[in-house]
């Protein structure tokens, strides 16, 4: 089984780096699991194109991204693809194209393996200002996010 561990975000925009930082920390704290041959780690800034590549040939994926509107900063939620089905794009222009749209497009185009299992881990962001570091709340949540990543990967491996 091929499992993609994917962080989405930007390093230069405060808590938008949460997905990157969580995956990076997971690679350190769960090094044996992260370096296993069944795992491919990707950090993605532009999901519109890179996500389809990262999911190409994968049987399962754990995708970690910052969320907005899901509680206090640092709140972690685990979602499935069906949780995104009701998502309405915030913007009709290409700047509003994000993870839900890309996953939906990939599904419509048959770009993904049949039966691709995607688990999404969202880390609620506090601020995403240019040039700011992670907020303390998000930084404090990273160990728990790592445990969630590992738990999802172990659950996938058992399937």
């Amino acid at each position: 089984m091929k499992i993609a561990a994917i962080g989405i975000g930007q390093d230069m925009r405060g808590d938008d780096a949460a997905g990157f930082e969580a995956v990076r920390l997971w690679e350190q704290t769960h090094a044996a699991s992260a370096s296993s041959p069944d795992i491919q780690v990707r950090l993605i800034t532009v999901p519109a194109l890179e996500l389809a590549d990262a999911l190409d040939g994968a049987d399962a994926a754990v995708v970690v991204d910052a969320t907005s509107g899901a509680g206090e900063p640092g709140t972690i939620r685990t979602l499935s693809l069906s949780d995104l089905e009701g998502h309405t794009p915030a913007s009709g222009n290409p700047h509003g194209w994000g993870l839900p749209e890309e996953l939906r497009l990939g599904k419509l185009l048959g770009q993904f393996s049949p039966g691709l299992l995607v688990r999404l881990i969202g880390i609620e962001a506090g601020q995403m200002q240019l040039g700011r570091p992670l907020s303390l709340a998000v930084r404090a949540a990273l160990p728990l996010a790592c445990d969630r990543i590992q738990a999802e990967i172990e659950a996938i491996r058992k399937q």
């Binding site: 800034t45 194109l49 913007s91 009709g92 222009n93 939906r104 497009l105 419509l108 185009l109 048959g110």
Partner: protein
């Protein structure tokens, strides 16, 4: 009363609004309200060293950063009086080909094609026409790969500098693009044929077209600013012929000719003025469509982009096949005070830059005229010409027609300073 409200126009880059006031089937007021805040790029370029400029101006746009890098580099090289090598020029053209491929693929298939198929979005189009969207994504990926290969990354590349490139990409990495380019050429030729079979809204406008023109190559980074009126203007005298002005409803400046008339830049202008310089395959694809040039229907910009897609893939194959880096990738610059202008053809049209440098090479003043800002008065004039038709249509259809028109221009409001909300108001009924 006839009134239409659209919170935001979809499938354009940026955000803004549109107001049309009608009386007796005539437009009494048409405004493209560009309400996004100004971005102040010309302001914060001041006192920056000249070599910072291509990297800063690239941030103006995520889709056409190469255009901003090239226009700024050309202008600054003119200010310093330096001439880049033919090898650098060829590599810049190849990089620009990559930008055209990714930008045209995005606009044609993902932003404008849903209009032509009566779909709301690319997601709806993907459900009914998955091959179109699959090919679009593959083309976009190819364009991005060219930018990554030459520029170091696909968005806001970092390898372009005043005087050339910081380093040559390896010949091997450039040649590795060829198999996918060969696929893209076949795909682009088929797309051009397909574009000729589609139905487009009918609209004929007597435009003044303006584009860079060069006698021996498709106008891109050198030549004169040619108008369909017959006037050819050296880039250094652009501001004498084309004048920017402010309007109360827009944070983007507008442009007009010295005679006070709007003009059109972009793919339709380029194709109409430069079709004789197309690569052979693109020329053949155009001939096969049996169109009468000049094209005067703005919706046929889709066809123009399709022909240009063939051209730029074809040119990319030629440039990648013959790429053989030799010598220094950049000129050692002797910094001095001076002023320079530069223009290149961004995918959306002519992009003009002017810089003034002090003796330390610091920017004292900067002037950037993006293509969408030049096209804004033209879009408003087109909508005015459509007013009687819009007034006769049910509001939902009128909204759609107006949006389709604006999208045909592929406005990049992020560049112009970002864009669309449509309100059509019957002023008589107010």
């Amino acid at each position: 009363m006839n009134r239409i409200d659209v919170p935001a126009l979809a499938r354009v880059e940026g955000e803004g609004g549109l107001f049309i006031g009608l009386r007796d089937g005539q437009a009494v007021e048409v405004r493209l309200d560009i309400y996004e805040p100004p971005r102040f790029f010309e302001g914060f370029l001041r006192d920056r060293f000249l070599q910072d400029v291509p990297d800063i101006t690239a941030r103006i746009c995520g889709i056409c950063p190469v255009a901003y890098q090239m226009s700024s580099a050309i202008a600054l090289e003119a200010a310093l009086g330096v001439q880049i090598s033919p090898e650098v020029y060829a590599l810049r053209r190849l990089m620009y080909c990559g930008e055209y491929i990714e930008s045209h693929a995005l606009h044609m298939f993902m932003l404008q094609a849903p209009d032509l198929f009566g779909r709301e979005s690319v997601l709806e189009l993907a459900a009914s026409e998955p091959d179109i969207v699959r090919n679009a994504l593959r083309l976009k990926k190819l364009g991005n790969a060219i930018l990554s290969c030459i520029g170091g990354r696909s968005v806001h590349p970092v390898n372009v500098c005043v005087g050339g490139f910081y380093s040559w990409p390896s010949a091997e990495s450039v040649r590795s693009l060829l198999p996918e380019l060969e696929w893209a050429l076949d795909t682009a030729v088929r797309a051009a044929h397909w574009a000729g079979t589609l139905s487009y809204p009918q609209l004929q406008i007597d435009y003044e077209f303006v584009a860079l023109h060069h006698g021996t190559e498709y106008g891109l980074m050198r030549g004169e600013v040619l108008s369909s009126s017959g006037k050819a203007t050296p880039v250094a005298k652009y501001e004498q012929e084309y004048v920017e002005y402010q309007v109360p409803h827009s944070n983007a400046l507008h442009s007009k000719t010295r005679n006070g008339t709007p003009y059109m830049v972009g793919p339709l202008a380029r194709l109409n003025l430069n079709h004789e310089q197309l690569m052979p395959g693109a020329r053949s694809a155009l001939d096969n469509l049996r169109l009468n040039l000049p094209l005067r229907n703005p919706h046929l910009s889709f066809v123009a982009r399709a022909i240009e897609l063939v051209h730029f893939v074809e040119e990319a194959i030629q440039l990648a096949s013959t790429y053989s880096p030799e010598g220094a990738s950049r000129i050692d610059l002797a910094v001095k005070a001076g002023e320079g202008t530069g223009a290149s053809e961004a995918p959306r049209g002519l992009l003009y830059h002017r810089y003034q440098l002090d003796e330390a090479g610091l920017v004292q003043s900067a002037r950037i005229v993006p293509p969408t800002a030049q096209n804004l008065p033209r879009m408003e004039s087109d909508l005015r010409a459509m007013a009687a038709e819009l007034a006769s249509l049910p509001s939902a259809e009128a909204t759609r027609r107006a949006e389709d028109l604006v999208r045909a221009y592929d406005p990049c409001i992020s560049c112009a300073t970002h864009f669309l909300k449509l309100r059509i108001q019957d002023t008589e009924a107010e």
